[in-house]
């Protein structure tokens, strides 16, 4: 593992810490005064600072340090976290996030922004604490080197980062001697800590003598290479307080037996111990590399290894261990100690590609299993043979495997929602409005691809809601409303889909203006008679933008139509309902996954097609008396006294030249995004099935009217119908036959 990989892990962890930070601050903002929340916030900033120091990201360290200082005042109850304080802190969290992004992707954060906030933070901290010293300059602690935590009772005391400085203070201050017993457990090593590095850090506090307790070291053949057998007994003389000595083990304290007590007598004869030559100075340059040989001399890989060499150690000790297992061990070991401590659940970080490969393979498995079943059923009319029974069990198992694999990709929408709160803050600041974002159902889970893809349209909608939806405080007060507007973002599962609602309590849609604008932009004719709902939906029309003045935030002409298109591209739907003076509600309904789809398998002109089940409202067998001709070649079907246009799918897709007789087929009543219902005529329904979605674009090209392809039980490819496009085509928008692969001739 090279430095860049480690750095990448650090940045990934930063994301988590930033999320933790923001959610903690928001909790505080809502009046939560739980000390654990404050601690979580502090820990997040602290971990970022520690990691950043290891990579020499000085700008980040400097800012995190000031931030941490102020947070510490809150933690020690010196600073009341009121609204004003939290406002600064939330802004600081944003800047911290920007600094992290800049450190990763390059670029820089405006210095004025950072400096202004640093001043504000310092002012807050100065309320009762001495001014924070200038940012630490020597940002070179090792990755695992914990930062001494300021816990002095007299208020915050900035700790300079220069480790070399510690020794020089000795002559000024009284010296204490502590007896430290340190016995790491195996978890300590599996989380990537290294006893030798901790001891090295300890040695920097003062004079120390160290003895290794090897009593628990078993015979060579029974050594578990990943276990921990050694303990150390250290006697250290230092000017530091006991807390500071303990702080060295800050990140490891959950994973070791640690005892620190002031020394009363000489500790030499307490335990029978073998003094081990322990050249700590040799560790200073290349900690990881030097630990390895040492481990080998001691007892052939019996001494625990540093993080990055865990995989190596496993390989050396356990012969021919599968590389995947080793990789998994390494992945598990990468879990940073702080993250492990702060989150309750055990998680591992897995490359998304691996998960995707697994999902693909399971998709193949499902297809293969279906093919197998089909051929067995064809050759075995009995249906009760052992093979058949076994196959049924296999079918159930594959289903379960598929569900579990899909669950791996499922993620809560929380990170996206959290990002939105920042956008609300920033945009509201920019336009001078007071807005509160309330989120609900952040733990609703949905496939990662869906999450990745909704962030952008959601951002756009949030900006719109802040910019256009919520009125200015003056206007709100004049209307008798709370000057602070509320935007509510909620997510929930509903019938196999995720429903995301964005509700604002703003002015609602100004229908007069929307209509006028639509007329001005030639979207509708001036004499069009539109229902309120239709007018509301005009905002999704391409090239529609109601902002009177083009602002930075929204209204660049690319508006809700882009949002709508990206939602539709995900197989989702979006709608709006609005009440004048009370606000608007945007409702998005999205599929939980983009990998499988529940579909109805139908036959059209001898071909097998799959119609997404979500689009189908009902199916019916048309009777001759219900079919009515309309105009030159249109036909309507009457369903419970309303008339619905009939669409011959085979005709639209060019599978046959003439319209089929509707009485011979089945009608699928579908609801399309364009609004309105259509009856799609197909020849027969074969059944209902979950299908794995396969891209047509990968090797072919987009085909109008076809959303994707899938592979059926018999191994053949079936096409998945794009209901909206087919309905659109029936309304006269041509399914333009695009030239495929190459223009002929």
């Amino acid at each position: 593992m090279d430095m860049n990989e480690i750095k990448e892990i650090f940045f990934q962890e930063c994301e988590e810490q930033l999320a933790e930070l923001e959610s903690g601050l928001l909790k505080l903002n809502d009046g939560d005064r739980d000390p654990e929340t404050v601690n979580a916030v502090f820990r997040a900033v602290h971990s970022i600072k520690g990691g950043a120091g290891a990579f020499g990201l000085e700008e980040l360290v400097a800012f995190a340090h000031v931030f941490e200082t102020t947070l510490d005042c809150v933690r020690s109850n010196k600073l009341e976290p009121n609204q004003d304080v939290l406002k600064v802190m939330l802004k600081s969290a944003d800047v911290l996030a920007d600094l992290v992004t800049c450190s990763r992707d390059g670029g820089s954060v405006e210095e004025s922004r950072t400096r202004g906030l640093v001043k504000e933070l310092e002012a807050l901290a100065n309320g009762e604490a001495p001014p924070a010293a200038e940012a630490p300059k020597a940002a070179k602690p090792a990755a695992a080197a914990p930062v001494a935590k300021p816990t002095d009772d007299s208020g915050f005391q900035p700790i300079p980062f220069t480790f070399d400085g510690f020794g020089e203070e000795e002559d000024v201050i009284e010296q204490f001697t502590y007896e430290v017993t340190f016995k790491p457990t195996r978890e300590l090593y599996s989380k990537g800590n290294e006893a030798a590095l901790l001891l090295r850090d300890l040695s920097r506090l003062g004079e120390m003598s160290i003895a290794c307790d090897i009593d628990q070291l078993p015979a060579l053949e029974s050594i578990d290479p990943e276990a921990s057998y050694f303990g150390w007994k250290i006697s250290i003389t230092t000017p530091k307080s006991e807390d500071e000595v303990r702080a060295v083990f800050e990140f490891a304290e959950w994973d070791c037996e640690l005892e620190v007590k002031p020394s009363e007598a000489s500790a030499d004869e307490e335990l029978p111990m073998i003094p081990v030559p322990f050249d700590l100075s040799s560790l200073d340059d290349e900690p990881v590399e030097t630990v390895q040989p040492q481990a080998e001399t001691a007892a052939k890989a019996s001494v625990p290894e540093a993080t990055s060499s865990v995989a190596k150690a496993v390989n050396a000790a356990v012969e021919k261990k599968e590389s995947a297992a080793a990789a998994a061990a390494a992945a598990a070991a990468q879990n940073n100690p702080a993250a492990a401590a702060s989150s309750a659940g055990q998680t591992i970080r897995v490359d998304l590609d691996r998960v995707d490969r697994l999902i693909n393979l399971v998709g193949e498995l499902v297809i293969n299993q279906a093919m197998l079943s089909q051929s067995v059923v064809e050759n075995d009319t009995n249906g009760t043979s052992a093979v058949n029974m076994g196959l049924e069990e296999l079918q159930q198992l594959t289903r379960e495997i598929q569900d579990s694999v899909m669950a791996i990709r499922a993620q809560p929408v929380k990170p996206v929602f959290q990002r939105m709160s920042r956008i609300v803050r920033e945009v509201a600041d920019m336009v001078g409005k007071q807005i509160r974002l309330v989120t609900e159902g952040e733990n609703t889970e949905v496939d990662k691809t869906v999450i990745d893809k909704i962030a952008e349209p959601l951002t756009h909608m949030i900006r719109n809601a802040v910019d256009h939806g919520i009125e200015s405080p003056e206007k709100r007060e004049a209307a008798g409303k709370d000057p602070e507007g509320t935007i509510k973002l909620s997510a929930k599962h509903r019938s196999g889909r995720i429903l995301i609602e964005l509700i604002d309590d703003g002015g609602g849609i100004n229908r007069e203006r929307v209509k006028q604008k639509a007329i001005d932009n030639d979207l509708i004719s001036p004499d069009a008679n539109l229902s309120d709902e239709e007018i509301d939906n005009l905002i999704f029309a391409p090239g529609f933008s109601t902002a009177d003045k083009i602002s930075d935030i929204s209204g660049r002409g690319v508006g809700m139509d882009v949002v709508k298109r990206s939602i539709q591209a995900l197989g989702g739907r979006i709608s709006i309902s609005s009440r004048p003076g009370l606000g608007s509600t945007f409702t998005m309904s999205l599929p939980l996954t983009l990998a499988v789809l529940d579909g109805m398998v139908v036959t059209v002109a001898g071909q097998t097609l799959v119609v997404p089940l979500t689009a189908i409202v009902e199916t019916l067998q048309p009777e001759a008396s219900a079919i009515h001709s309309f105009g030159s070649n249109q036909r309507l079907i009457s369903i419970r006294n309303s008339f619905c246009p009939l669409v011959d799918v085979g005709r639209i897709l060019n599978f046959r030249a003439n319209q089929a007789n509707p009485v011979d087929g089945v009608a699928l009543l579908v609801e399309s995004e364009g609004g309105g219902q259509r009856a799609l005529m197909v020849d027969a329904i074969q059944g209902q099935r979950q299908v794995v979605i396969k891209s047509l674009e990968a090797n072919y090209t987009h085909v109008p009217g076809i959303a994707a392809a899938t592979i059926l039980g018999d191994g053949r490819v079936a096409l998945i119908l794009d209901v909206d496009a087919v309905v659109g085509a029936s309304r006269g928008q041509s399914l333009k036959p695009e030239m495929s692969l190459a223009a002929a001739g």
């Binding site: 693909n360 998709g363 193949e364 297809i367 071909q607 097998t608 897709l653 060019n654 599978f655 396969k694 891209s695 047509l696 674009e697 990968a698 090797n699 072919y700 090209t701 987009h702 085909v703 109008p704 009217g705 076809i706 392809a709 592979i711 191994g715 053949r716 490819v717 079936a718 096409l719 399914l735 036959p737 695009e738 030239m739 495929s740 692969l741 190459a742 223009a743 002929a744 001739g745």
Partner: protein, 161 residues
């Protein structure tokens, strides 16, 4: 991909080609672009496809378009039988199946064996034919697959998608 190979192999001289038969004519393509050769399986027709796209088949989980080479090269539309074969070939970033009547040979040739294409009136032939080989008494036309399926058309369409 195959272009760069062709350029590289020019210096070495020798190159390998796969020859196949359509009707009474023989063609060949660079072996480096061929992934595998498999038997004909029924393809699922695509709506609004040009006549030379026979449809798509399942190639171990991937959706593979099948091109009727006979129709693509301007001859009559093939009526595939169990004896037809599909040459699975990589054309730029995509994998396509080429339906041909039979694979006849693997040829190892040098640049000297390749004769220039004679002046013919048809644009189609000019577009894809890169040379003519005389092997014994047979005449085999060397085809440039990339020219037959220009990537540009793909890109435009997949962007539009």
């Amino acid at each position: 991909m195959s272009v760069s190979y062709a350029v590289k192999s020019l210096s070495h001289g020798a190159r390998e080609l796969i020859a196949f038969r359509i009707g009474d004519q023989e063609f060949c393509v660079n072996i480096m672009s061929v992934r595998e050769i498999r038997g004909w399986t029924q393809a699922t027709p695509m709506p609004h496809a040009p006549p030379y796209v026979m449809g798509v088949i399942n190639l171990r989980g991937a959706v593979l378009p099948i091109i009727d080479m006979s129709a693509r090269l301007g001859m009559k539309v093939a009526e595939p039988t169990a004896r037809h074969v599909i040459i699975v070939a990589q054309v730029k970033s995509k994998v396509v199946g080429l339906l041909v009547e039979a694979v006849s040979d693997i040829l190892t040739i040098t640049e000297d064996n390749i004769q220039p294409v004679p002046e013919v009136s048809s644009d189609l032939e000019k577009q894809y034919a890169r040379g003519i080989l005389a092997i014994d008494t047979r005449m085999i036309c060397l085809i440039e697959l990339d020219a037959l399926f220009p990537e540009k058309a793909h890109d435009k369409e997949s962007e539009a998608a």
